[in-house]
Amino acid sequence: MSNIQSIEFRRSHSGEIDSILRNLMSLQGVTAAAIVDSDGLVTHIHRDFEVNTDALGASVQIVFGAASKAARHVGHNLANIVICENTEGYVLLAPIEAGFMLALVTEREALLGRVRFELKETIPVLKKLFASFL
């Protein structure tokens, strides 16, 4: 089956991905929401501070790769969400499809349960979008 899609189809899907990222950015304390491809390149990003997207993309893939290995080592199978708790906030990572990842950067005062709940509920939608997009 051909993966070739019309430009309108791709544009509407890309628009929906942007809406999802905008929605995630509206959560209290979320400062960046990004989609990173398997090579560590940022394909979509919404942010309210200056961030080095190359560094963000590369670190997302490195951290998630390490967490996935750790999960396998302890017999936990796949890593679904990785949460980094830092001095100034959190970074949450979740795999989408075909190596694409969703990364959220938050401030310390973000409500972790709120952000994680939204992330967990958003991932299945993003998976469907990417599955039809790729």
Binding site: S12, H13, E16, S19, I20, N23, L111, L112, G113, R114, R116, F117, E118, E121, V125, K128, L129, S132
Partner: protein
């Protein structure tokens, strides 16, 4: 039905509406994505609004909502959000054991009363609502009508 009960009923309905939207099948991913987001926002905003209003009730010192033991919404002075999250998860786990042994049905409420304070935990859809107050507060009475 008193004020708090009616608020919980609304939350249950919103949670069910969201759950229903998640089970919808079809190829219109864009529309389903948008609808799911709207239903989820309606539920979470209602949770946040209730948490903000419960704190106006006499004797209530804090109110918070948790999902999987992690803080989702709060108002008032929650002593230690992480510790409270852990307490909720552990309490629900123990109560669920009782549910199986004693045929209680799905756990709706857990109340822990200490020498000084008490905490009521109420499950609503995927979240747990917590109301903290001094031991002597009659929560049923305090929450029977909105005092904001």
């Amino acid at each position: 039905m008193h004020w708090f009960e009616s608020q919980l009923l609304t939350l249950h309905q919103l949670a069910e509406a969201y759950n229903f939207s998640q089970t919808q099948k079809g190829n219109d991913i864009l529309n389903m994505s948008e609808q799911g987001r709207q239903k989820r926002a309606a539920f979470i905003e209602a949770v946040q609004a209730l948490v903000n209003r419960v704190i106006d009730s006499s004797g209530v010192t804090a109110c918070a909502a948790y999902h999987d033991g992690l803080i989702l919404a709060q108002s008032g002075k929650t002593p230690d959000t992480d510790a409270l999250g852990a307490l909720i998860q552990e309490s629900i786990r123990v109560a669920q054991k009782g549910e199986a042994i004693l045929n209680l049905g799905a756990i709706q409420q857990i109340v822990i009363v200490g020498d000084l304070n008490k905490i009521a935990m109420i499950t609503v859809g995927p979240i747990t609502l917590c109301v903290l107050s001094p031991k002597q507060t009659n929560l049923a009475l305090s929450l029977s009508q909105y005092n904001g």
